[in-house]
Structure formats: structure tokens, C-alpha cells
Amino acid sequence: MTRTLWTRTAAAAAALLLLAACGADEPAAETTGADPAEEQTLTVYSGREEELVADLFEQFETDTGIELDVRYGDSAELAATILEEGDSSPADVFFSQDAGSLGAVAQEGLFQELDADVLERVDERFRSPDGLWVGTSGRGRVAAYNTDLIDEGDLPDSIVDFTDPQWKGRIGFPPTNSSFQAFVAAMIELEGEDATRDFLEGLKANDPKLYEDNSSTVRGIAAEEIEVGFVNHYYIYEVAAEDGEIPVANHFFTGGDPGALVNAAGVGVLASSDATDAAREFVDYLTGDEGQTYFAEDTFEYPVAPGVEPGEDLVPLDEIESPDVDLSDLGATIEPALELLAEVGLL
């Protein structure tokens, strides 16, 4: 009894030491064996979901022969990771879900400047003014609504009108979602903190149903839990792809309304990268025809470089009357937005 317990413990300890030794060897072997072929491996920190971009990465590997080592994570957490790693970061490229995370890394001076021709490809709204990161795809904020319950004609032009008591109990949104928070930040930029507080309090007075994320909001609309929800434009397509046809459509706000914000996912190359050429090729690929076509056709997002048409159901990007805010400024306003949401009690 006693003997077996201790034999087992000893065996476990031995196994652990062995594993620790192996673990210690692995990275060492990587750094010593730096032959030219090895240089063609690119480490990507991806804040974009595996479900959305894994196919695109595979396509990139086939087309270029460059191998990708992808670490998936949450955009904000990966940005924090890069900030902690500093110059020792193993990452070559940071591919983020939102501009805020890219801005945080750029601000610490951890990105290198991108090639002018890549930058110029992309609409000015969707890139860093200093050329440190570039947008890869756009996401429009919309009011998704149940087509069985509402005619689009009954929907207001501005998101602010949803504070009207007639919408009580009929609306919902995901307050913890970073795209929703970016919209609140945009509203602060455009209309100031007081107006935004009034708006949020008005929304809250209408008993909104709060969802975990965009897709459950869309599912809530489809299930008639609510009639209208504030989400990104492509979720109705994603949910339909998983759940089958749903009676939900997108309504775009007009007149530069903050509710019509178009946010961007984007990419930057780390200054500490030792595979700069491959990293730039990666950025070139995402903003080029192949990448842009993928975002238009596979993730139902907006291409940000001209020349690739958005999916057929989409309102063209230049027809969306999106508000005039600088996405790279938005990063700094996320915090006040979160504070405000917490203060009003929506977070």
C-alpha cells in the first residue's frame, strides 16, 4: 500500500522531470536550427477567431510556401501579451479583431512602419495615420430586425430614437461585446459624454434584453425574444449558416449616425520580428485580392481595398452613411465608454 503509493509518486516525478527536459529542449532546438527554410515560418498572434480565418491562413500557406504558426486568443489579451513581451515577443504579426488593440501596440512603439503601397491600397478610414497598422476588413454596425414582426419602414434613421418608450421590451444587444463598446466610444467622440449617458440611460429605461454576444442576439431576434438588436452586419449570415434560414434582416442607420459605425479588423508587423519579409508578404496578402475576396465571400465582411466587391446582399460600403470618426482615436475612448456602460448599469 505504502510502497505502491510512493513508487507511483516517484514515477510521476520522474515523468515530469523528463517532460520538463523535453519542453526545455524544444524551443532551444528551434533557435539553433535557423537554416533558411526555417526562416519561412511566421508566428501570427490572431485575435480573429479560428472559425473565421483558419481557411484563409491555409490558403496563404499554399500560395506562398510560408508556414504559419498561429496563436489564437482574444484581441485585447493578445495586445496585453505583446505589451508584456516587449522586444522579446515571439510574434511577427498581430492580426486583431479591432482597431483599439492595434492602437495599443502601436502606441508602445512595438510595430514597424508598413510599405506605402500596401497602406495606400486601403481606404484612409481603415488604417493607422502613422502607417503602423492597416485594416483588412470592415464591419458595419446595424440594427438587425425580425422581418415577421417589423417593416423596415418603421425603423428610425438614428439609433438614438430607440430610447423612445414605444421600443420598451422590444430591443436587445450584447454590452460586453467589443464592437458594441466601440460604437459607444464613437458616440462619445461625436456627441460627448453627457449625450451618450442620456442615450444609454434611455436605452436602459426600455428594458433591453442583454445578450452574451452578437450571434445570441441574432438568435434572440429570430426566436422573437426581441424585435430589434444592435449587432455587426455579418452575424445574420453567420447564424443562418449554422441554424438555417432566419427571418432577420439588417437595417443601416443614416446621416452619419454613430449607430452606423464601420469598424475594422487589421494587422501590424512587430518591430522585433526577425521574419520581416515574410510578415510583409502576409500583410500584402490580406490586403490584396486573395485576402479581400476571402473576407467578402467567406466571412461576409466588407473588403477595405477597392477592386473587390462586397457580397451581393450587402449595402456597398460607400453607400453606408457612417459617422466621421478616426478609428485609431477610438482606442483611447474605449475606456470612458466602458466606464459609462458600467456606471449606467449595462455592464
Partner: protein
Amino acid sequence: MARAAHLGPRARPSFARVPAGLLVWAAIVCLVMAIPLAYILLRVAESDAGTWDLILRDRTVWLALRSIGLVAAVTAGAIGLGVPLAWLTVRTDMPLRKVWAVLVALPLVIPSYVGAFALISAFGPSGMLNRVTGIEGLPTIGGFAGSFAALTLFTYPYVYLIVAAGVRGLDPSLEEAARGLGRSRLSTFTGVTIPLLRPFIASGGLLVALYTLHDFGAVSLMRFPVFTQAIYLQYRGAFDRTPAAVLSLMLVCLALVILVMEVRARGRARYHRVGSGTAKIAGRIHLGPWRWAAFAACLLITLIAFVGPVATIAFWLARGAARGGEVRLTWAAAGASMGISALGASVALVAALPIALLTARYGSKAASFARYVSYSGYALPGIVVALGFVFFASNYASWIYQSIPLVVLAYVVLFLPQASEPLQSSLLQVGPRIAEAGRALGSGRRRVFVRLEAPLISRGALAAWALVFLTAMKELPATLLLRPTGFETLATRIWTGATAGLYSKAAGPALILLAICAIPLYVLARRVEARDLEVRVEK
């Protein structure tokens, strides 16, 4: 019988001098455990007046008060559930006692955010209950009540498992004496049994309190902002690590207060036999008609805290499969989860032993210090600990960065109290006399520990191992940030599915996770039963 008084006023440590080897061992453990604390202090040192203005606001105080309230309520609730359940499943003739012994421990395998999600789907606004009954205005779950319910239901097994080990090791002679002297059964339970179980209740309560303090998932789902929310807002919104670190330090201070309270609750009493003879085997207590009330209580708890969440997950899986979605069975991830969690649990056990020995046997200042330092990791949100490891490993030990050993190390730092608490309580119950006898008969200290004490605390050690294993299986933030690139566990697979909003993809790995976690729980319960039998046969 009088000489066998277990609750002596003070327990005096028997070996006043702490062996040097033990101190060195404990010092090494403390050094590793201090990594997140060192990281926080480093960042706090960068703070300026602006940071403090940001933090010293009414809202921060308000959030701290809410955290304290939630911690107190959940701890009380978990003790209120865990202690009676432990006593019922071990000592009474409740029907299907042995089955319940396993079943009521199972909610532990449900990650609290999954559990909270299931509670909301069932009892939330427009939840299943609401839709099925069609009654408007049914009370819905959320806010404080929802957080309290979710956290209590999914953490009480910490109290249950640790206290059950204590009840099994209990010498019934004191209770029999009390009964013989005319005390009623209830007054024996509250006046004798509960005090004898104090160190176990304190240990379990401590684990629940610290868990509640650092939890973010359940409270965020229930929309009950607490202190951890302030920390997350800093990371998510401001990308500023300095205020996050200052807030984390405040969280550690709160944990310190909880630890001091736990030491007080534990008391300085003696919990081992000091008289001659050995402990008796406890007989079954007959509950009479109450056995069915106990049965119903166990059934209800199992239904809400285990069957409900499992059914929710199974529903997602079935819905995904019915729509022709591919159901991914991630066996490789399952293997990886088990391997790395087993490693984490084993190393945690080795690391916890010196802390437990110092606290239970020597009660020295060094012991309290070791305990405070080594518990700070458990009081912090996983993301803070993970970023601390990112900082130190990437900059100063790149050879270990993003490797399996680093993840294992993080698990040890995150979950050490779950290993050291059961060990420590077992050591208190065994007492120092047995070791003294062995020493008097000429055996060396090490031999005494290996041959005499270790077998006696093996039950506590097993519980310790299982607790860390189960918690590590569910761990996400540190695994996500520290794992080798491409290394997938069940938890990371669940996360991948859930972030994409594809619950059907998250459900497969979630069910496998539950199935795997159920095994060590089952073994834990069975092993104890087997032991009872052994002794009975000898008799």
C-alpha cells in the same frame, strides 16, 4: 475517555525546531509562488498620482464592498450545503448514500460560467421555465441572487469533498460520549461534530471564498459587477497595466484579510487523539423517516447543479448535430488536457507539502508567511497571473516561454491552495504523536514521514490531487496565453467554439470534459468506500 479530549485548549507544536530541508523546500516554492505578486508590484511601482486618482473613487470602493458581500454570502452558502451533505453521505443510512457521495461532488466539474449560463437558460428572463409555464412575472435569476446561486452551487463541492474526508477520519468516541451523556442527536452534531470538523470547514470555506473573489465569468454573465470587473475594464478598455496592477494588489489585500479570518476560524484547538488506543470505526447513524428528506435534498441539488447544465450542453450538441453540423470529438485535446492537468496536480502536491507541513506541524511565523505568499496566485484573476508569467518568462527565461512546463508552473501558482488545504487538514487530524512515537523508536524523520504519516494522510493527498486536476482541466486564461503554439486542450476548444457563437461546436469538448472529470471524482469516492470495507473485514 476524559484523557482522549480532542479539543484541548492549545495544540503545542511537538518539534519546535523546523528542519532546514523543509524550510529550503518551502522557500523554493514561495519564490515561484511570488511571481505574480512580483509582477504586480513591479507594475504598481510605475504608477503615478493619476493612476491613484483613477482608482480611489467611489465606484472602486462600491465594487469592493459588493465583492466582500458576495464572498461572505457564497462562503456561508457553500458551507451550509457542503457540510450537511458530507455528513449525510458518509455517516448516515440515507438511501443510495454511496451514489450520492459521487453525484453531489459532480457540480465541481462544471465551469462556473457554463453553470451560470445554464441557470440563465433555465431560470433567466425568457428562459425555459418562463417559456414552458408561460407565467409572466415569475422571479428571474440575475444580479446578486443569480451570482450567489451560481457560485454557491458550483463551488460547494470544495467544502463537501474536504469535509467528507474529515468526517471519514473522525473518531466517533466523542460523539458517542456526548450521546451517552444525554445530548440529543442535533446538539451532538452542532456541539461536537461541527467543532471537530472546524479545520476542514475552514479549509473548504477558504477555497470557496478565494474562488469567489477572483471569479469573473459567473458574475459577468449574471450582470453583477464586482471588483474583478474593474480589473477587466482596465485590460480591455484602457490597455493599461498599471491601474490593473494596483487593483490586483487591492484584491490580494482582500484575500489576505480572508486568510487571517480563516486562521481565526480554524482556531488553535487540537483535532487528533491524544489518549491511548486507536480511533473506532464509526457506525451508521439511522435517520428514520428523515432519510427520505435527505434523499430528496440530494436529488434536487444534483438536478439543478449537475443535470441541468449537462442537459443544456447536450441540447446544444443535439441541435448542432440535427442541423447537420459536424460534431467534433476532440480526442487529442482530451489527451492533452488530461496530461497537463495531471502534471499540474502532481507538481502542486509536491509544492504544497512543505507549506502544509509548516502550517500544521510547526505553526511558525515562516509558515504563515509561506502561506500568505503562496495563496496570492489563487486570489487573482487568471489573466493577471498569466500576464505575470508572460512578462517574466518572455523577457528572462525565453527557453521556457510558451512551453508545457510553463503552463504546469502556472497551474501550480494558480491552484496551490487546493492542494495544500486538504493536506493540511489531514495532517492536523493525524496529529504529531504518531510521528513522535516513530522518532522515539529510532526512525529518522524522513522514514517516519514516509512510513507512518504519508499513508495516514493519503486520503487528503488524493483529494488534493483530484481538486487541482479538476480545476486545471477547466482553466482557460493562463492556458491560452502560455501554451505552446498549436497546443489545444478541451478548455481552449470550448473557447474557440463559444467565441465564434457556435455553441454546438463548444458542446462536444464540454461534454468530454465533464466525462473525464467525473472519473477522478468517482475514484475518490470509491476508494474511500473500499477502505472502510478493508477495516471492517479485519474486525
